[in-house]
Symmetry: none
Subunit: 162 residues, 2 copies
């Protein structure tokens, strides 16, 4: 898999009283260059206390990969079960949300809880996908490189300053 357009950059946006968040324009432009959807898929990140996000086309790609894997394997009961489990996680545990003409999504309450997102959302491009963090949790995570935390701190100051 070699995607042409990659997510990169960072931004810190507010979650308003209705639960709306603007998806940074530079991430939206990648989504719209990858396909013509104005939609993002949200999932709990597998390792971090954050959300993972991508365009719907990427989800389909992931899915067809799983399918091929299954057809290749022997169809043992064990393989079947693992397939079912992965499929459930990949689709039931994710939500697809459209963004409106002003580039905002309504953060689904479940995802907001899973990602522990409060009133600020830190967007981090990571190539094929991007992440959405509660900035405080990122700063508190020992696994995060200091240089990245500096970026988070900068975004926080930047916002306070204005």
């Amino acid at each position: 898999m070699a995607l042409e357009h990659l997510f990169q950059g960072s931004a810190l946006n507010a979650v308003d009283a209705k639960g709306r968040v603007s998806i940074p324009a530079f991430l939206r432009s990648v989504i719209e260059r990858r396909g013509d959807a104005r939609t993002i898929v949200l999932a709990k990140h597998e390792a971090f206390p954050a959300l993972s996000a991508y365009d719907p086309g990427y989800a389909a790609l992931k899915h067809s990969k799983l399918e091929r894997l299954l057809e290749k394997e022997e169809t043992s009961a064990q393989a079947q079960l693992e397939y079912q489990q992965r499929n459930l996680m990949a689709f039931a545990a994710t939500e697809e949300v459209p963004y409106d003409s002003s580039g905002r999504i309504l953060m689904p309450p479940m995802m907001r809880r899973k990602g522990e997102i409060a009133d600020l959302a830190l967007f981090l491009g990571t190539g094929e996908t991007f992440q959405i963090w509660n900035p405080e949790l990122l700063l508190a995570d020992k696994r995060i490189p200091e240089d990245l935390k500096d970026i988070a701190r900068f975004r926080l100051e930047e916002r306070r300053g204005s």
Copy 2:
């Protein structure tokens, strides 16, 4: 097989006194984008104590998938038998039900029994199809990943809370 529109997300809806259930709008939109039917096909899930559901067009696809699976195996008596069994489940043991203008189906009594659906129906998108669970049975099933159970618990709380 590469379906364009995939079922994803989760929702917990009530089964009312008449046996009616709303199919979540985000699942209906996939059905209607795949074809122009306002109908779903219900079947007992092959592995879980739940129902499997999809649009009528998908049934044909499922059939060819089974065929291919059979051709791949040597046609041992065992494989033949499994094929016959699955084919019966896939076609004889299904019901096609239309949903009305408000997006509700009347859950057929047999399916309700087969899926052990009580007064709450948990909808789980799984890509090509979606599943309908009694949430309590999902929580009790050892094969279901804990992260997915969290989602079921969240949906239950969400409903109680409001």
